[in-house]
Structures are given as structure tokens and as C-alpha cells.
Subunit: 290 residues, 2 copies
DNA sequence: TGGAAACTGAAATTATTTCTTCATTTGTGA
DNA sequence: TCACAAATGAAGAAATAATTTCAGTTTCCA
């Protein structure tokens, strides 16, 4: 039964529901700080999980291993596979050198941010936002601040291909009232507002809300004041070993949303993309002929 | 004696010359594929190194450990330190979402891209580019395509704060010749060109090169044709479980570069940022008074 | 070349780990 | 509330690991 390609953690997860209370407690302990927490003796593992050694022995057999030593040697193989990954090696070398390279430090921070953000994020929120974004009747507006404007533009550029009725607000706040004027109830306004929150964003959110628009806010863990008008909020971890905040994780969520919307509306979208290809082709021809 | 910060491998290396023949043989076996090779029982380790168990027991004591279990628990700690590095953790993303949720699949893909990119990337290239970018005499130009334009803009917005003499090329290629006209030898042109490579990019790169500009290209693993004019190239992994390519890792490198440049020119940059703050403040005042 | 010192691993001993048994506890449905 | 099944851990048995002893071997120097 035990597929050779499955990791120990896969096996634990697969059978988790079939485990008893004490075993679940043990399983959690093993998955927490996996796979290192399974490296010690059966006694140590049992103590760490606050269960008895027989519980450990029984569970590993229940999971399909011949016994604790068998279970542990599998873990050793996984540790080996993880550690002999070139990047890990690179990292170990670099950490010997004084002052780790900025690339490594940045990678560490980003990974931490991504992990934390994904832990915090509510899958239901994500799915709801994806659904809202994929309804073509709703007008779709994007707006960002000085730094986040590029993110708004990135999101906009993709959504513009996927669906009609999509608008990017100029980063110049004096022109915003005109956009609000055209919003209808049920339209969506996607706001990016990160740290040094921009005062005008709150006013914009309030005005759009009064027009009946639904508001989605991308902000940081401290939350822009605009969230009080928001139907859905994404709080993203943005800290990096830098004088600037990081937008990497925000971009990650944007791309995931793009894909979620795209795949839920694939029929129409693929048509649109074909048409768009044709238009590009024509443009090129114009140039050559002209 | 044994400095707490010394790794087991350090200890072995330090005392290597004082070891006997069989012990050296064992030491080599341990260092080869370190630290995983020391994970098993004393018997296993002895067998792998083709020495007897007493040799192992004697050597670990000679190295200053209380015994084999002591030696091994030290190794476990090191494995833990290596593995619990955020970069190597790739399981359990959004714990509340099912494993097949787009967020989790995306996270896996991005992680893979980041690892691969970091493995491929040359730290020297990175440092050289950071140095080039931080020389204020060089004019700095950014250009991107339809999708990557937002990345160019993001990079530009930050660099514009950090240093003077920075320009973002319009995404409309018909205006590019005018920019090239103003380029001087030694100026830098940062090009983003990812898949569906845009023909005009190559022409732009060639023209800029003829004017004596140095060219830096951000592209994907298949490489834009513009790289043949490039002084430095970043090849980024861009594949995602999506109809679209992912820009997350590209943004990661951009942010790391921003930080590298910023920290190397902190004195001037901090002055500039203070001045900028003052300007923002004035703008706000204007509005209130006006 | 002889002999002492150092090295090595087989084997015995000791310590620890792993597994099994079984009594107690916990939970569940009649 | 009771009876039964399932779960759990204490305790001991079995297995394995770690250490020590010791005798054979090698090395090195006079």
C-alpha cells in the first residue's frame, strides 16, 4: 500500500483522521518542525509529544511501517533528500562566511512572509474574491499608491485580457472623483494600500462604498484605514531586511487570483485571448507594411 | 575546549591530523554527505565507513563528545538548524486550505522557481549589477513589455528615490528612439523581456549598445534574444500552474537589488529620502490650505 | 632485527531502546 | 446507569545499541 513516492508526512496526513486522540497529538508533534522532530529515539519522540512509547510504536505500525526503526530510516532518507538540495548546501556554505549574502537574507525573509501570509489567509476569502472578480457584469476598478501603483497595474493588465469592463485608476488622486461618478452598485474596487497609508485612499473607499461598490483591500499586517469599508481584505506580510517593504507576497496573491479567475472563466477567456493575438498580429502587419 | 559555536564538522576538521588511519577513514565518511551520514546508529555509521564500532566510539570521545549519543544529538541540532531554515521548508503552506487549492499549488511552484533561480544565479553578477546601479554618474533607463512594464515601473519608482538620473521608458515603443538619442556611453539600460519576446526589445538593445550603454536583461530560462547585447543577464524561473507566467521571482530579485544599492549608498540616499518626505509634506499642506 | 607503543576489531559486557502484554481508564450506545 | 469496546500507558521482555576489554597486528625506533 505505502506508495514509495509518498513522504512520511504525506502518510501521516492521509491517515490523520483514522488516528486516535493520543495518536493525533503525536502526529501533530511530528508534523510540527517536521522532519527533525522525528529524529530522536522513540522515547524522546514520545516525551516531546507527551504520549507513551507504546503509542508511538503502535502508530508507526498503523501507518504501515515495520516498526520505529523502519519509520526513522525513512525520515533519514527524507532529511538527506532535503539537505542535499543544492540551495540548502549553498546556504550552509554562505552561512559560514561572515555576513550572509543579501540574496540569502532576502530569500529567508520572503519565505517567512509567504508562510505567515498563507497561514493567516482565509481560503474562503480568496475563493469569494475570485468569484467576484470573475463576474463580468461587475465593473472592475484598480487603484494603487505611489509604490503599489505598479502592482495595481500588473493586476489590471492581466484582468483586462481575461474580462471586459476593467479600469485602472490613474495614480493621480485628483482624477478619482470622475471614476467614482461612473461606478454602479455591485462594481468592484480593488485598492492597494500599504504602510504610510495614503489619506486619499480612505476617502476614495468611502466614496465608492456610498456609490454601492464592493471594496477589496490589499494591505499589510497593520491594515490600512480603508479596510473599514472593505468587503474582503488581504493582509500580507511585507517586512524585508531592507529600508523598503516587500511586495513579493502581494504579487504572489495577485497571480494566484489571476489564475483562479482565469480558470473559472476559461471558455470566454480563451476566446478573448485568441482575439487579442489576432489584434497583435494585425498591429505588427501594419508596421511592416507601413 | 569545544567552543559551543563550532559545528561537528569543524571539530572533525580541526583534529583531523591527530586522528589515526581508521579514524581518518571514518572522519572522511562522516564529512562526505555531512551531516546525514552521521544520522544512523553507531553500527550503521561504522559499517558505512568500513571500520569497527569501537573505532567510532573511541573517535567521538577523542573529539570531545561524551559518547556516541552526545555526538549524535549535536548532529541532530545541526540538521535542525539547516532544515528549519525557512527556505527548506516546503510543506504545509496554507494549513487551512486543501493541498490542491490553487494557493498551495502556486506556493509550491513559486518556491521551486525561487530555489532554482537562486541556485542558478551568480552572486558575482548580482553584486556587479548592484555596483553599476549605484554609480550616480551613469544614467539609468528602465523598459518593460506589456506585462513586465509594471515590473520596470516598480524598479524605476524605487531607484528614482535612491539616486538621480533615472528614467522610465514609455511602454510605447515608438518613443524609444528619443530616449536612445539621449543615452551616453556608460549609461545603463535595464530591460525586462519575458517569453513572447518583443521584437522591438532587441532593436532597442542593439541601438542602445551602439550608443555605448551597458545593458542588463531580466528574462526567463529560455532567454530573450536581447541577451546577446547584455553585459549582465538574470535568468529567472517563471513557470507557474497558470496560463500566465509568474513574475514573483523577478520581483524578488528587483527588491534584493534595490536593497543592495540602497545600503551601499545609504548616506546620500537617506538625505534624498528626507528631502522627499519634506516635499510630500509640502504637497499635503498645499492641499489643505488651497 | 627486536621490542615497546599504538592501533584495531572480535567478543563480551553494559546500557538503552523498542516492542509486547495487560490492567486501568475513557468513551459510547442501550 | 451499565456493559462493552476502544484507547492508553506502566511495566517488563526482547532486541539492539554503545561501551569496554583484550588479544592480535602494525608501526616505529634503537
Amino acid at each position: 500500500m505505502s506508495n514509495a513516492s509518498k513522504t512520511v508526512s504525506d502518510v501521516i496526513n492521509d491517515q490523520f483522521e483514522a488516528l486516535t486522540r493520543a495518536e493525533k497529538q503525536l502526529a501533530k508533534s511530528l508534523l510540527d518542525n517536521y522532519p527533525v522532530s522525528g529524529l530522536g529515539s522513540i522515547t524522546t519522540v514520545a516525551e516531546n509529544a507527551r504520549v507513551s512509547t507504546p503509542t508511538v510504536a503502535r502508530m508507526v505500525q498503523k501507518l504501515g511501517f515495520k516498526g520505529y526503526p523502519d519509520f526513522q530510516s525513512r525520515l533519514h532518507q527524507e532529511v538527506e533528500a532535503t539537505i542535499s538540495n543544492p540551495l540548502t548546501k549553498h546556504d550552509r556554505w554562505a552561512s559560514n562566511a561572515p555576513g550572509t549574502h543579501i540574496l540569502n537574507r532576502f530569500a529567508d525573509a520572503i519565505m517567512g512572509n509567504l508562510r505567515q501570509t498563507l497561514t493567516d489567509i482565509d481560503a474562503a476569502t480568496f475563493d469569494n474574491v475570485a468569484t467576484l472578480l470573475s463576474e463580468p457584469k461587475r465593473g472592475l476598478y484598480f487603484v494603487g499608491g505611489r509604490i503599489t501603483g505598479a502592482l495595481a497595474e500588473y493586476f489590471f493588465t492581466h484582468m483586462q485580457v481575461i474580462r471586459p469592463n476593467t479600469t485602472l485608476l490613474s495614480s493621480n488622486s485628483s482624477s478619482w472623483p470622475q471614476y467614482v461618478l461612473n461606478m454602479n452598485p455591485g462594481d468592484l474596487l480593488v485598492i492597494f494600500d500599504i504602510r504610510r497609508y495614503e489619506q486619499e485612499m480612505v476617502s476614495l473607499a468611502a466614496a465608492a462604498r456610498r456609490r454601492g461598490a464592493e471594496i477589496i483591500v490589499f494591505t499589510d499586517q497593520w491594515a490600512s484605514p480603508a479596510v473599514k469599508y472593505a468587503k474582503h481584505t488581504f493582509r500580507v506580510q511585507i517586512e524585508a531586511p531592507s529600508a523598503w517593504d516587500s511586495s513579493v507576497v502581494t504579487l504572489f496573491i495577485i497571480e494566484a487570483l489571476i489564475e483562479a479567475v482565469q480558470s473559472s472563466t476559461w471558455d470566454e477567456t480563451s476566446e478573448r485571448m485568441k482575439t487579442l493575438e489576432g489584434l497583435f498580429e494585425q498591429t505588427r502587419l501594419f508596421r511592416k507594411l507601413g
